[in-house]
Amino acid sequence: MPLAYNEISRRTRERDRSLREKVMSLDEAAALVPDGAWVGIGGSTLSRTPMAMVWALIRARRRDLVCARGISSSEGELLFAAGVSRHLITSWFSLGIVWGVSRIMRAYTESNRARFEEWSHMAMGMRFRAGAMAVPFLPMRSMLGSDVIAQLPEAKAIDCPFTGEKLVLVPALNPDFALIHVQRCDAYGNAQIDGLPFMDLDLALAANQVILTTERIVSNDQIRRRPDHTKIPFFAVEAVVEAPFGCAPHECYGVYEPLFDHLDRYAAALKPDAEQGIRDYLDHYFFEPKSWTEYLDRIGLPDLLDAARRGKSIYDD
């Protein structure tokens, strides 16, 4: 059920929305998110995935997070396998088409250990948009006639009161938290996004609180020089964490492309025994490192540099 409007308003009113510095560590930001929280994840597939925050929540041994993302990839596999989430609301869920169907998604959903609640991609977007608009639903014209809507008691097919046409109403999604990674923001949380914005603008406003991770923290003067690049306003943001290569091994537009060799190795490691493979991966990359820097160190300089060269090349033409 969508949240009642007075509940959404109350939560917003009660937050400290003043202009204040919010810079903190990954651990401090992870501590803001309680067990059982609803968490919207920014980016899409292998792009601008807030991996550093996912990493921190997994290390903090968070439980029963209900996660929502437009399209989900390895971050969803890791959240399932680490026991952080048993419920992912998304439109598509696998590492990526070139690596085939996710063995972790299959293992967890087919044994009912976790739920993959499937909405169409546009429906995910309309749900975040309704959340951002603080209306309980939005109408749309896809999903009619399909079995996708048949699995979703929350989606309602109606006859339009104006035209009599059949429409689908999708309920607002107002997550407790949005985890969004950006190229740069200031200490207040004014966030600038380069390239594909995905659903992050709606997600940021739909969520009660935004936890930003950023490639770098810049001065407020820098933000004010290009206000047209600012996509998330500071008052929606609760935490700012500087996390260079914060999407690795996924991409951050214009900064680094996906670390393809690393993803190939990850997929290969999960081939013989997916669940053992991902447990070993979690141990090596998530639980054993003492810091995000050590995580990056284990990923390795050659892969990071190669991805950075490819990432920045978009501005070379």
């Binding site: 899409s44 597939t45 292998l46 792009s47 437009g70 399209i71 998304t90 439109s91 598509w92 869920f93 696998s94 990526g96 088409i97 070139v98 169907v101 996710s102 998604m105 299959r106 959903t109 087919e110 993959f116 499937e118 909405w119 169409s120 991609h121 546009m122 429906a123 977007g125 309309m126 975040f128 948009r129 749309m140 014209r141 896809s142 999903m143 009619l144 006639g145 399909s146 079995d147 996708v148 699995q151 097919a157 046409e165 059949k166 429409l167 390239g195 594909l196 914005p197 995905f198 659903m199 603008l201 709606d202 991409e251 537009y253 214009g254 492309e257 996906p258 393809f260 978009i314 033409d317």
Partner: protein, 257 residues
Amino acid sequence: MTTDAAPYTASELLAVMSARLLRDGQVVFAGVGVPLLAATLAQRLHGPGLTILFEGGTIGAYVEPGQLPPSTNEQRCTRRANMVLGSTDVLLLLQRGYVDVGFMGGAQIDQYGNLNSSFIGSPQHPATRLPGTGGGNDIASLTQMIVAMKHEKRRFVEQVDFVTSPGFLTGGNSRHDSGLVAGGMFRVVTDLGLLGFDEHSRRMTLLALHPGVTAAEVQANTGFELPTAPGLPTTEPPTENELSVLRHLDPDRLYTA
């Protein structure tokens, strides 16, 4: 199937035959894999004015040779594009009616062109949980569709286990009656031939065979009775030029293995 001596793979044949269906000046919403590749191929071969949209939020993509993206959501999709925008907004362009052709791959299709990419078996106890709709349901619901897929009996079934992306549902007017007033299945391209849909019954029909393929072979690889168009034509084999441009675009055989 193509003969042993055939100088192209099944995926290459699929990409070339799909590319030929796209016309210059169209606006095509392309999914990842063969559709993305075939749309890019069409752009390079005969459609410099073909506008490619990706659900990651790209309008007017112009994918670089050898730089194929791993999905439609990475920066590679935006090279030389006209515009980037939110995923919700690019999907809404389908609903707004700006897209001429939706172009997707498929895991399982039935005689009415319904696509399944969600569950093999029942949703409650699936034998296989598949990756899901992504934008597939939106594209298939809102625009005219071309589907490119391998022609195998397990993929061409009488009735899909789950309608992820609607074709003509149960045939006749059922799609329209369900509220899907725009779009519908137009063509299915496979490595064996070209298929369309009967105007009234909305059942799948064999329209053309690829070189060296017989109608009996297509039927043998199809899990339902497949009517045949009168005077069944044979498609022209891929040309040297088509194949060479295709191989230039996908030198690592990411999508054409």
